[in-house]
């Protein structure tokens, strides 16, 4: 049977992709950010997950307002990135696992999650940056992926509780898969940031610290928050925290934080890195 080995969170902003492309790992601005990742990579080297379910938000590459999904899931044999408008480099494609995707879809729809199924799908920086951060050699090791997209573009967004429940259903679905897969769940994006309006540049360290803590041991703390509450506390784009909640919902067992790193600022964002181990 498939087993959920853990969950990872990381910011996914495009500037990170640029910094990776330019190998700015030792640059004084970037060093405190990049230094968080090697211990997580060591953990991944040890655990060797076969599949990553990547929960992220599309920022206007694969989806537009003519067909804006609340929840969308990939079921393709591979996923490619593409130009997002600022000439981001095209990188090696990511392997899919369509049979596993369909197993998840069957179970999530059975649990009344109204998914959009995507048998072809472009993945944007919300997906590629975390994959590159955790598996710089993803193309060589051939880790498989399932992209799961949550709407953060067009209000109304799904509530924190809905996203957490999606995660719970996802976790149950994964653990009912008959193959012996080791699965890791990524919740990408966050933490507090706001790009638009007179409030641009808003960051809330106190709230973020609380998120980093409670997401480990007390994720239900957030379930009565509305999206508006999240925007007040974490900024307009800080609402991406719902992606973390979906990830956390999928961790079915005893959860331990193996590594964490919090750094302000990367670009306009407070960046949060967490490596959560999930024990049966």
């Amino acid at each position: 049977m498939a087993r959920i080995v853990g969950g990872l969170t990381t910011s996914h902003i495009p500037a990170i992709g640029n910094a990776i492309a330019r190998k700015m790992f030792e640059d004084p601005y970037w060093k405190p950010f990049f230094d968080g990742y090697p211990p997580v990579r060591e953990w991944l080297d040890e655990v060797k997950p076969d599949v990553a379910v990547v929960i992220y938000n599309d920022h206007g590459l694969n989806f537009f307002l003519d067909k804006q999904p609340t929840f969308a899931i990939g079921a393709a044999p591979e996923y490619r990135n593409d130009d997002e408008g600022w000439g981001i480099p095209t990188i090696a494609p990511f392997k899919g696992d369509p049979a596993f995707s369909w197993h998840l879809i069957d179970n999530l729809v059975h649990d009344d999650f109204d998914l959009v199924t995507c048998q072809e799908m472009l993945v944007d920086h919300g997906f590629t940056v975390p994959m590159q951060l955790f598996w710089p050699n993803y193309a060589d090791i051939g880790i498989k992926t399932v992209p799961l997209v949550i709407n953060t573009v067009q209000h109304p967004l799904p509530s924190p509780r809905r996203c957490y429940n999606l995660g719970k259903s996802l976790g149950k679905a994964i653990e009912s898969y008959p193959e012996d897969l080791k699965v890791v769940i990524l919740g990408t994006g966050g933490l507090s940031h706001q790009l638009d309006g007179q409030r641009a540049g808003f960051i809330n360290k106190t709230f973020d610290r609380m998120c980093m803590e409670k997401i480990v041991d007390d994720p239900e703390h957030f379930l009565d928050m509305s999206i508006r509450d999240l925007v007040v506390e974490a900024g307009a784009q800080g609402a991406e925290f719902i992606l973390w909640l979906a990830m956390r919902g999928a961790l079915t067992g005893k959860v331990t934080a193996r590594h964490s790193n919090y750094h302000i600022p990367i670009s306009n964002t407070a960046s949060g890195l967490l490596c959560l181990e999930n024990a049966a």
Binding site: A15, L65, G85, L195, G197, A200, R228, I264, P265, A270
Partner: protein, 115 residues
């Protein structure tokens, strides 16, 4: 049913009301994912805006490259980022412009948030 729609200062929620206003503008900006489209726009901005049916308010905001005006005209920041990107403006430049600060001061403000 009552949802709390009380405004958050300095923040425009991109909801249905904004979406209805901004569709043409956002559709144009979404098209900038494509290099050929970016070139077509840069070669003749006015013709490109007409092609996407922008209204006068949107056209003026595009000409002026004033982000707050683009948002007021229904623009969504994720699509606007593609527009800004064409001019080499990143999110710090955009943040500085919206808050009326220099880019240096805006960056300093971000840095201070970490203290």
């Amino acid at each position: 049913m009552t949802h709390n729609k009380e405004p958050i200062p300095g923040t425009v929620m991109f909801d249905g009301t904004q979406a209805m206003k901004g569709y043409a503008l956002n559709k144009m900006c979404y098209s900038f994912n494509n290099k050929q489209n970016r070139e077509e726009f840069l070669a003749d901005e006015e013709a490109y805006m007409d092609k996407y049916g922008l209204n006068d308010e949107q056209k003026q905001a595009v000409r002026d490259k004033v982000v707050l005006d683009l948002i007021a005209a229904g623009g969504n920041i994720y699509y606007l980022a593609k527009f800004a990107g064409m001019y080499g403006l990143n999110v710090q430049d955009v943040g500085a412009q919206q808050t009326g600060m220099s880019v240096e001061d805006f960056k300093e403000k971000l840095r201070r948030a970490g203290e």
